[in-house]
């Protein structure tokens, strides 16, 4: 040992290392990494200009342009109204990314044909999706679930945001007609409240002459509870309310957490020609419900069971409901991000009224009431009202930004007013095209809105887009909130009916989205190898265990007898991103979709004899056209 040895080792190792490095360098030269030099950089920092194009248009284009291959900053979930769907957009590009069928069948994805979705949809062929609400943790969107109500058939749904599919439909919820004012989720997703827009005799199916409206026709507040683990919805309790037509609601947050606020527009208790008869009073009410007290009353058993629902008579729970007078037939009610103010949007009065939650609680504690109606104390209006902001004509909904401003849509005026939560004065106003209903700001109903983007959800588009006949698309307009004056960046035509939307930072969702269904041998009907694919016949019960992968079905010849009851499972064993297969049977009115790794099923009776080709309906591969087979139904005789 000594210097000589050391030198020898060092030299040998150096040689070895050199060899290794050379090898690694060589092989990395051969491998493709690093060759993918994208187009990024072209747009960064570049100043676009084009002769004759005004600067503000160039500016708007740059703010909304998302180059090929890049993603949007926000997801926007927009209600599809009476299409029964939810539409998913990217903001700021406003590209429609996805349609999620919720309350209505959608053959494109087999929704309403697969056993699972058929069971969820039940007998209903349409629904009226209204107000999407994202799940929250500590008043912030957590990106787990989206909830939405069906105003037509008293249902609510949960969309799972790891797969963007409807995971549960609850309902028909008993006793409630037209649950318009959901889903406004509590800050920790305990509940959302929905109340009847239409009063009616309870339970469903009960007859009572219309003249008995005030006595027999009830409105109901249904509390939809959310399981914190899996999002499973249930309706543990309901509250009887006077027949006042409840419009919208919001959950208190931070200091006002534990309360729900509902607007009412028919305290006149009119039942005909509501346009006139429900518009007589100068003020209707915001109904404040202490849902924690109601929950306790339910736990204490203070309810009667009507049609399976536990219905609480609020007069048995004194101190749980108070009325706040609000002008006039108020539409939306929105709690400010700090939870301190409740904003009532006047609809038939040109004002939004700002109420202080603190003052409201003072009235409650000091019995400072100006009267009573239907057994509920009416808090002192002069005391709780902080401001009547003169926003303009037809105020409907309000959202918030990160700099202490509120934004209110003005339906009649076709504009959006920006006003200060500090001075309660309008600081800016922008015309929109036309007649905005709801609006949505980036995370604009959480405890910490982002500002940045506001989208006006307009009821009319008129001539804003290429004509498509007498029926025009609805429209959405993207508005820039980063400049002192609001500015419209982009017009987007949309399908009916953008009632409300939620805008959430994309990374809160992308981290949870899975791309391929995991292999699960225990799943009923799943077959992961072609050797296991088969048809089993037991009397007239036929079960097909089908395996599908680019570009084949196993089995691809299925023979049954007329009248057989068929359960048909299809598994997609292409565990490969975006390789979805369809499975449609000609002339049998059947089509389903199987996403990568997924097993779905459908049931039908082979009641028509003959030969029926089936084929892959979701283009999958170069030999997609060959992905087909035959269902042979042998006649009975």
């Amino acid at each position: 040992m000594g210097n000589g040895n050391f030198k020898k080792i060092a030299l040998s190792l150096a040689g070895l290392l050199l060899g290794l490095i050379l090898a690694v360098v060589l092989s990395s030269q051969l491998s493709p990494k690093g060759e993918v030099s994208g187009t990024e950089g072209i747009f960064t920092g570049a100043i676009a200009s084009k002769t004759g194009v005004p600067d503000d248009i160039v500016d708007a284009a740059l703010k909304t342009y998302v180059p090929p291959g890049e993603h949007d900053e926000y997801y926007m979930f927009s209600s599809g109204g009476h299409s029964g769907h939810v539409f998913v957009y990217g903001v700021p590009s406003m590209r429609r990314i996805r349609t999620i069928p919720v309350f209505t069948p959608e053959s494109a994805v087999g929704y309403g044909w697969t056993e699972e979705s058929k069971e969820m949809l039940g007998e209903w062929r349409w629904g009226d999706a209204h107000h999407p609400g994202l799940s929250e943790t500590n008043g912030e969107y957590d990106g787990r679930w989206l909830f939405i109500n069906d105003n037509a058939n008293s249902r609510v749904a949960r969309i799972d945001l790891d797969s963007f599919t409807t995971g549960q439909i609850l309902g028909t919820v008993p006793n409630i007609y037209g649950p318009h004012g959901a889903a406004f989720v509590t800050p920790n997703s305990e509940y959302y409240m929905m109340a009847s827009r239409f009063a009616g005799p309870v339970p469903h199916g009960t007859y009572s002459p219309i003249e008995n409206f005030s006595e027999d026709y009830k409105c109901i507040l249904a509390a939809i509870a959310i399981d914190p683990e899996d999002g499973e919805m249930s309706n543990p309790w309901q509250v009887l309310l006077p027949p006042w037509s409840y419009d919208l609601s919001d959950a208190g947050k931070l200091g006002s957490d534990g309360w729900a606020f509902l607007t009412s527009y028919n305290t006149e208790e009119a039942y005909t020609l509501l346009e006139v008869n429900a518009s007589q009073r100068e003020r209707d009410y915001i109904v404040a419900v202490n849902w924690r007290m109601m929950e306790q009353a339910w736990k204490d058993g203070k309810y009667t069971v009507i049609d399976g629902a536990n219905v609480i008579d609020p007069l048995d729970v004194p101190g749980a409901i108070y009325l706040i007078p609000c002008a006039k037939s108020p539409h939306g009610v929105d709690v400010t991000p700090d939870g301190k103010y409740i904003v009532g949007n006047g609809k038939l009065a040109p004002i939004t009224t700002v109420f202080s939650f603190e003052k409201f609680m003072e009235c409650v504690e000091n019995n400072d009431f100006q009267g009573e109606e239907a057994g509920f104390p009416i808090v002192n209006y002069e005391k709780v009202r902080v401001a009547e902001v003169e926003v303009g004509l037809g105020p409907l909904h309000t959202q918030f930004d990160n700099t202490g401003h509120a934004y209110t849509t003005l339906f009649v005026e076709s504009a959006i007013a920006k006003w200060s939560l500090d001075t309660f004065e309008v600081v800016d106003k922008i015309p929109v095209h036309y007649c905005p209903g709801h609006l949505v700001a980036a995370e604009g109903d959480t405890v910490s809105p982002d500002g940045k983007y506001l989208i006006s959800l307009n009821k009319l588009a008129k001539d804003k887009f290429l004509p498509v006949g007498p029926s025009h698309p609805e429209s959405m307009q993207l508005i820039d909130l980063t400049t002192p004056k609001m500015k419209i960046l982009y017009d987007n035509p949309v399908d009916p009916e953008p009632h409300f939307a939620q805008m959430i930072k994309a990374d809160k969702i992308t981290k949870n989205v899975f791309k391929i269904y995991p292999k699960d041998e225990s799943q009923p009907g799943a077959v992961y190898t072609k050797e296991d694919a088969r048809t089993e016949k037991n009397g007239n019960q036929v079960t097909v265990y089908m395996n599908s992968f680019r570009s084949r079905y196993y089995p691809d010849i299925v023979e049954v007898d007329e009248g057989d009851e068929i359960t048909w499972y299809v598994t997609n064993t292409d565990f490969d991103e975006d390789i979805t297969h369809g499975f449609g049977i000609c002339l049998y009115d059947l089509n389903i979709e199987v996403q990568p790794g997924q097993t779905t099923s459908m049931k039908f009776v082979a009641d028509k004899p003959g030969v029926y080709p089936f084929y892959c309906t979701n283009f999958c591969s170069a030999l997609h056209q060959e992905m087909q087979g035959f269902l042979l139904v042998k006649p009975k005789s």
């Binding site: 060899g19 690694v24 051969l30 680019r550 292409d574 490969d576």
Partner: protein, 198 residues
Amino acid sequence: MGKFLNGKLSITGRILFVIAGLLLVACLFFPWWRLELIATIYPEGLRMEVFANKIGGKIDILNNLNHYIGMKEISEADFPELQFMVYIVGAIVAIAFLTAISGKVWLGSTAFVIAGAGGLLGLYDLWFWLRKYGTDLDPMAAIKIPPFVPPMMGQNQLANFTTYSSFQLGGYLLGAGIILMLIALWRFRRWEKPAVEQ
């Protein structure tokens, strides 16, 4: 030759054998060789990685794509060498450590010869399988292509796929271990008192 085999390694030589043994142990945990396929619709790449005892990567997807050109399905069960490769490497490691303890050149030479021969066989084996999979194509396949042999190292074009094959860390560790043994046997024997043991 006899004199060589009866010789003993110096302390340095024995340490090199310890290191060589450790490198061989380490090589079991990393892929030895990789085939990566890139196409426009697979910008993220489809990889197949060969370990001492398994084939990793997106084999299912590759197999599914390969069936279009009639390539046999790649399945671990078809490679008996994956069953015993670990034991051979284990045996070499054991001999290498014994060499380090005893310092006996003949033991060290045994380890080197097994490892070296094994390595060459492994290279042949790889070529053999590449050739087999590339040329033994089902004549009934939907897409008919001329038989091909993908290179062991380097780039190849197959329909819409560009393939890149390369040796990986495990392979390099294995090679380094063998070379270390060679260096030890070659330069680090004890020259003094060669006949004392006899």
